[in-house]
Symmetry: D3
Subunit: 263 residues, 6 copies
């Protein structure tokens, strides 16, 4: 179900265990060959495909296209909130959903820069608010739902930025917005035993830098290896995992307080 | 042009006098007969119609569906930011656009509750930031672009909430989302010489109350007088005014400093 | 009654339906012919005159001379809070009054720049605080109490800044502080079909600019048409309306919750 | 000179070494025998008397009656800002004065609860802002200007709250507002070798408590020993010291940077 | 070198490429068998051992024992900052070090709950401040420096909380503070295909919950498998990796701006 | 007892009237002859000596070395929080201790710059939070516990900064960190009838300035008069007073509400 198409009396009468999904995108530079809207486009396609399969076993909000991309702001066109402000926005959205009575909320994330501020928001919310304590607050970044499955058929090992994966997805979803003639493969300015700029998951140390210190065109990875076919395959695999997760999530048992109560 | 479909090099090369339009909606209760998404639906339809006519003489961002509707939060389904937080979000969007070099920014507003926090944000920005001082920062709420023209053919004098005007627009845009069988006309709990709840423009004093103190169903005005035809006529009239304004706005002269410079 | 002259046991025993009035002024440039204190002087005179007529049917606080005038800060002498900070101050004053048990609070405003931040404060308060939900929180800007009545006998249609209206009032109240030899009439830098700098009420679009972009001397309107007689007449008319409003306000019925209770 | 009676061109042309004085009061409970306005009344009388003697060697702002008195809020009638918010207000006032070009600013304080937040504000300002670094930012609480001189002829050793000193001053300034029949002397709930509730200056440890934990009537000290004559003598002595200080302050040499410059 | 033992002239003359290490601990419940200080104890031992080997090729600050542990606050003894406040503290420490001229800063983290707020702080700093843009800001959590090497000889696969790893380390460092008779192995309340409470690194979805919803005693993992010998071996392995990293880090090349400059 | 060495069940079972002591230091420049850690070193030595004597009649937390020293930041090596941020940190520490059930909390302060922000924090906490209202929140700066006793045998009258007192203490505690050959006695840039830079306690007016405006080397007072013997004597005297105070504090009676209850 689409949250936004319901009336308030309809929202009131729904089963409150239904998972509520909030897709999170961004509006930020994606190199010279992709449009600013990439992350929003991808996560929306994934979320809507899952909603079509789950029907009334999920409640889907519209995608928030405004994300936290300040490390990209040196490239014009990026529209962004600082991490601390984005965290407050996420907290408010979660609170509105909790106030309506739901207790299983998934932020379905489609932009790397959103991960830390969403985690910050949900950590803060669950500790600072009574209404959140008995809720499941989840952060699911789509490419982390099953990385091994997603890299099947790809030349590069992981999603980075405007890379083989992202370019393939946009070729599948909106080929009219891709300028493959402008795509470039560039080496990363920082890549060593400790820090893997293109696959932060496998870094042993985290380094915080603006994007213009890492790449001249604003892209990473191997966009030239992309194809619409790869994009369609990836999209199907991600949707499959998301549907599986949401189906499970609906069934998870409540978690009552176990430890000491200082109340 | 759609901002989100451009790449960063394309944004960089555009004429910086082009007006940039940010449509602002909400996700909030609209009574038992209309969906939560009404304000976003309306302002998006208006903005996209104007963009189709203006082509490369305008840059349109995606609509921000997340607005400031805390006075509606007692009705479930409303997803909202407090006014002070919404102001900060608006300031950040404006700053991102200014940082890209543009100097004519219009927040095209489609929800009454957004007006004060947008005004707060832009007042604060123009005084607290050097980058904003030489910019035109505009707030245009669609129903204020030409109220006299918009009330032609209507039975009620002004837009309020889930009223004749809004119901007509949704009947024109998404009739499948309207439940006319549930529409109700209710008297306002507060309506006197000083305060006109249904037309704040003509109030002499402003009163701040939660919506559940003013109306039981969550709607105002005369939804039963609505029709798709009225909606289509209103939509055309609003788009006409918006196109006229944006065409003018593009031409306004620069405003250099006149008064004392303490710099 | 004057709030400040009571002791705490006296405040405790008063009827809590009595309207509490908080006059809001500013300390900001008013052109070369008027002193910085104009707005505070005017609103204080109005409030005190009403208090003398209403006696124990009103509780009047001292005027807050510190307002939000950052758009005037380029002119030296202006002392101001940013809008967001001023909003927090207003919220705190309202909370103090509510905590004392009163439920009818009027911010009587005498400066245009205060309107948005007071509205922001009261919107935020009524939604974010239980103590405010059952209160009447009012914003009454004096020149909006009855604009048609106030323009009788004037050459210009509305109050702007250091204009015919304001200069007349200072000529009536403190002629020793007026330098008519320095008064100037200047055209506005921005005045067109959409934006009326000198009468924002009739603007169709709002533009946010620092004052030094709009006027070299810091004044607007037609100060040269001012006279003490006009000022006295205006003062009497405003006081009359304010007394009428406060008398009514005291009688307004309570507004109980009508809509859904999520409590 | 009175700041508020000047026009902006007049402020611009003044000698920027002139001390600018901002009197700080409060609106808070002062026991059953004194009105809420005591602190504001006193500091205003002191400041205005000094201004009359110093003429154009001082610039006096209007008294800010809104102070930080949250520890008194349990007694109705108190109107207050939390310390952190009051600090931000003080910082903004100082910044407005610095932006006008002045570099010698005195906050003349008349309420104990204001001391810490003013100190916090000025510490923060001088470290966080370039415009403040070369300024003299002073906090002068009137009863600390010369405590030994002020206690001559008094029965109690120091100013506390609604005490011999304060009651005497109000008897001198506004006897119509004093209800001596209601004055009470009460022992302090906390008074030992380490903490002197009635003379915090001589405490060796500071304890933070709400006023209702310390005194039932809301007053301290010996109000029954007060007289108008004592009040007049005290007033004269304080004004004398303030005039001496401001005369000196005007002459203090600049303090150039001495230590390392990291600039 | 120990930062705190230098004088300011000595800090001024040092080579500014030297890595500056800030160890981050916590003061939080660690189950019934371990003391509150565990994380601080461990990270301090690691940092000091590395400093002894690197001598003047590193600058070590004292450990900040105050961390972000609000999810543990239901267990008494925990002393914590909310994530958002902890982020501001980290930003201030980084700024102080940058202001002294250093450009290679490592936050050596010893508590899981600190990771997100440190990442938030450094993301925010590098985007919002000019002084940080050309710096290397690193977050190194000790158990992520080489997880495979660290699990050699252990029965469980990863560090969690008061587990085999942590109990072993405290047995090695301060055996007098361990009550092995009170150690317990408890199953996790939440553990499935998507969420591994005891090894968040391998979770596919992140869930935010207070600790008392996950474990009754406050510990996780297998503390009963711990031994001092395992602790000593682990300590040596971690120090080895840290020394290797810091030695490399000192040599990394500068990263000049590559992308577009909007400056 | 040391708080950090307890487990959470042990904290839970302790008598909640036991005073909890939080030592507050700094990491800031102390002239060319002393290390950055002076204040932390001193307050830790004092607190630990008292803890050894009081045993289970006190609970001692680890010293917070991070203080508020922004007025020293122009001298490299200083690591500091702005006053407003430091206040929030102190409030959080106090809240954690209150949440564990204790009601007698002493911030034992060892740095002048911490005094105002700690006072601000505790004022704000006691007024804004119900959990703090019935607690004793104390600020004890060590040199104020008994100034007359502490100056016995000293040549100068009071503690200032890197002076006779502080240099003596470091000579007693860590002589290896003192470079007496670099110690300097310098006249204060600001010292007159109203302001005593080296003894703020006896100032009649407070002035806020960065340290580099007051002293070139960063030290004050007479470091050349220092000796280890003076340091040992001072240390013993301070510990004596602190033990006396904590012993008393444990016995103070509860302070129930006396004044009006607005609840």
């Amino acid at each position: 179900m689409l949250w936004q198409e319901q009336s308030w009396p309809r929202i009131r009468e729904l089963d409150k265990r239904i998972p509520v999904v909030v897709p999170l995108g961004s509006l930020e530079q994606h190199g010279p060959h992709l449009p600013l809207i990439v992350d929003t486009l991808q996560v929306t396609a994934i979320a809507e495909a899952a909603e079509r399969r789950l029907a009334d076993r999920v409640l889907l909000l519209p995608t928030l296209w405004l994300g936290s991309s300040h490390h990209h702001l040196d490239f014009p066109g990026t529209v962004s909130l600082l991490p601390s402000l984005y965290s407050q926005v996420i907290e408010s959205i979660a609170l509105s959903i909790l106030q309506a009575g739901f207790r299983r909320v998934v932020f379905l994330n489609g932009h790397g820069g959103n991960k830390v501020p969403v985690a910050q928001a949900l950590s803060e919310l669950v500790c600072g608010s009574e209404i959140a304590e008995d809720a499941y607050l989840a952060l699911a970044t789509w490419w982390e739902l099953n990385p091994e499955a997603f890299r099947v058929g790809m030349e590069t090992p992981a999603v980075s930025h405007s890379c083989e994966y992202e370019t393939s997805l946009v070729l599948a979803l909106r080929p009219d917005l891709v300028r493959m003639d402008r795509a470039r493969k560039t080496p990363m300015a920082l890549d060593n035993e400790w820090v893997k700029t293109e696959s932060p998951q496998s870094s042993r140390v985290s380094i915080y830098r603006r994007f213009r210190r890492l790449t001249a065109p604003g892209s990473m990875g191997s966009p030239l290896s992309a194809s619409a076919e790869k994009g369609n395959r990836l999209l199907a695999a991600v949707v499959e995992e998301l549907v599986r997760f949401l189906t499970d999530f609906f069934q998870w048992p409540e978690l009552p307080p176990l430890g000491p109560d200082l109340g």
